[in-house]
Amino acid sequence: MSKCPYEDFIDRYLKNELNADEQAEFEKHYFDCESCFARTMETYEVVKMLKDGRAFDASLGYELDTPRPASPWRRFLALFSFLKRRR
């Protein structure tokens, strides 16, 4: 079966990298093309899971983002609520 030319839009669509005209064209297309919509959903599901970083193990040489440390104000609030709970 030949590949639908719109399949090449899928990754950029999910990454918001299509220009406005391309985006509208692709969206109009997948309302009618079951195959492209199914591929878009499949890609979306996998991308969503890749975002948790679990797939990129440090043993494979990847560097994962570390959560940003809390600001001094947030740390103060956390300490304050902790002390308040202990009273």
Binding site: D32, M41, L50
Partner: protein, 166 residues
């Protein structure tokens, strides 16, 4: 005996598009915007009414007809919010990491499938989807064309989907 070729009821014809409409609305509004379900229901109701009243005469496909209604409703929603908030709502990340809680098992399966990929595919997935670099930035870092980035990403996802069936 051949079955009579009955036209589906407008409700049934429109409901077949619920997933497509939902996806389009969530993409535009952001995965964690609580209004998305109401917007989808409004679109479905409006579409059924238009079909019943004969406003939809079949000049275009049902898909195109629903696409038009959906796009107009999304624009209206954003305009409405802009009026209330004095500026357009912040675009929310999509896919939203807090969107749905996926099973740990499924996440593990995908991680396993990714570790089995050739490094050239894995690197694209890492930079493009995890680090969220643009396609051009990934292309520059890896010394390949932007088109090749898309090809590798799409092929890698196809391989993952083959190993991890829903």
């Amino acid at each position: 005996m051949a079955k009579p070729n009955r036209k589906p009821a407008p409700e049934d014809a429109v409901l077949q598009y619920r997933n497509v409409i939902s996806f389009r609305v969530r993409k535009a509004l952001g995965g964690s915007n609580p209004d998305w379900e109401d917007v989808v229901n409004e679109i479905l109701t409006q579409a059924v009414e238009k079909i019943k009243s004969g406003e939809f005469r079949g000049d275009c496909s049902v898909g195109t007809f629903l696409y038009t209604i959906t796009s107009r409703r999304i624009i209206d929603y954003i305009r409405q919010k802009t009026r209330v908030l004095r500026h357009a709502p912040e675009p929310l990340p999509f896919p939203d990491p807090h969107d749905e809680v996926e099973s740990q098992e499924r996440s593990r399966d995908i991680a396993e499938a990714v570790s089995g990929l050739k490094p050239k595919f894995r690197d694209v997935l890492y930079l493009y989807f995890y680090k969220e670099l643009s396609r051009d930035e990934v292309a520059r870092q890896l010394g390949i064309t932007p088109r090749r980035v898309s090809e590798r990403a799409n092929y890698a996802i196809k391989l993952i989907r083959k190993k991890v069936r829903p």
